[in-house]
Symmetry: C2
Subunit: 314 residues, 2 copies
């Protein structure tokens, strides 16, 4: 395994053919946007390239593949895009893959076992790096490529709101939006809410309780609530951001009941409070401002455990 | 009154001194950001410049003026920033103003009676134009100027999400964020919510009704609701975006009761529905996707007028 430069990445892509591009499980806008953008670009160079997705492309991201059809060839060069660890590569994605030739990522914690690795920890999204690569490959952008890149950088930055956004992120957005229907992409990813999602958000607000003198806000969803509202996974998305948005809250805790008497806990923090440290106490972890863990037990017991820990922690 | 070029705007600003910069009523991030950025820039050129705000600067925008102190001089040159119509200039702002020398705006419907007018309908925010002007004036950006410009363009574009965003908007963001604490600005404008605001949002959802086969959603707030929740103007901000977020909604109408039996109407549209055209019917206007008007009458009457018009319009 060797860390390489962006020039070397471009050389490797130019020298090789018959690419299989790997995306991570529970695929998001960046792993899909980056991988499909790279596939479209390699195909424009006359090369063969397919993208391997674990399961189907989520319905909200179907627009990324409207002009994509699987090509028939034996993969010869394997590239992972936005994959931080081997454990995030689903079995279906790894089918027939014995080694990863190139890893393109932006997670500083990247631990993928690949022959060549390029990780730009300053990139808000892996799609930022893919856009640089596409330019260095001399490929002219088109609607497919631009739409994929815009999706990757906009979803990974919460539409240029999160602190990982940089001047380069905005410059790339300025370069790609003339080529794609970014308005529709924003509508799909940042605007539209189903009525079920709105009902779920309102119910979530009804559960909100404050602790530690208002520095901790706790909300929860139960299977019964989800059932009553006919809310699927799409409706549950983004709920973890609600409690930390409240004025004065430094730690927002979202408890989501899953099958089997387990609560999936999401912790979001402000003001430099370390969510990862907090979740470690319960065998979890993640990023300093966004972490999680799982706790078995009934609602009251699990909530009390979390609240007691939060009041001790803050 | 004469439409002039950006070069002429810059010349006029260079030739004159003792500026009074006018902002519109219910000041938002763009009128404040644009006006204060221009004031800071003119002061860096050794000129005198004050900003006139109708009432106090809203608490959430206090960071724009942390290094601003009123200067003592007799105004000699009056400039309006982001003001679309004379009716949007409050009495306190117009105190001692007999004529407006220069109008800088981005509303295509601009009707301000000024000697010289510069309207860039392609600018997502008046602050985009102000940033161009500051560059042409040869003023080096600093944290105050950059923070004001970032505030103007980010708030008028919903953090680069709305359809008025352009490549230039992103390029300007790339230019200003190295100079200012844009992360804190985003937290203030796009993340944090007061408990009163959350209560108000929930109450707003309770008022939501659908018309035109679900293509039109209408919500309202009354003075009584505002009083009951202890919600100030800060809490009322952003409510206009709630109805158009619902799946299938093309036109979201927000009715806000003001003193004196008047409702301030905000219209937000998707799918290219022209909100400005719709609001013209009621003597209002604005942008294609975000417009407003004022209608006198009681809740039921005003709502029926709007709903009938919407069903005919959609």
């Amino acid at each position: 395994m060797r860390m390489i430069t962006l020039d070397e990445v471009v050389s490797l892509l130019k020298e090789n053919d018959c690419f299989k591009l790997l995306t991570h499980s529970y695929p998001d806008g960046d792993t899909l946007g980056g991988a499909f953008a790279l596939a479209y670009a390699l195909r424009k160079l006359g090369k063969k390239a397919n993208v391997a997705v674990n399961g189907a492309v989520p319905s909200k991201f179907r627009y990324l593949v409207k002009n994509y059809t699987e090509q028939d060839f034996v993969p010869a060069y394997i590239v992972s895009v936005d994959v931080a660890a081997m454990s995030l590569l689903g079995d279906s994605v790894m089918e027939g893959v014995d080694k990863i030739d190139l890893c393109i990522d932006h997670h500083r914690t990247n631990s993928v076992a690949a022959e060549h690795v390029y990780v730009d920890g300053d990139a808000a999204a892996a799609s930022e790096t893919v856009w640089q690569i596409i330019g260095m490959l001399g490929v002219e952008p088109d609607e497919d490529i631009a739409g994929c890149i815009y999706t990757g950088i906009s979803t990974d930055t919460g539409c240029f709101c999160y602190t990982n956004t940089t001047p380069r992120t905005h410059r790339i957005a300025a370069e790609v939006i003339p080529y794609c229907d970014w308005q529709s992409i924003n509508y799909i990813n940042f605007v539209v809410k189903t009525r079920a999602k709105i009902r779920m958000e309102r119910m979530i607000y009804d559960t909100m309780e404050f602790y530690a003198g208002g520095k901790c806000a706790v909300v929860y969803t139960t299977l019964a609530m989800q059932m009553a509202l006919g809310a699927g996974d799409d409706e549950m998305e983004g709920l973890a951001n609600i409690p930390r948005q409240v004025e004065g809250v430094q730690m927002g805790i979202t408890m989501r009941e899953k099958e089997g008497g387990v609560f999936k806990i999401s912790v979001r923090t402000n003001d430099g409070i370390n969510a990862s440290e907090f979740c470690k106490q319960f065998g979890g972890g993640g990023h300093p401002a966004a972490s999680g863990c799982s706790i078995e037990g009934d609602l009251g017991t699990v909530k009390k455990m979390l609240v007691d820990a939060a009041e001790a922690f803050l």
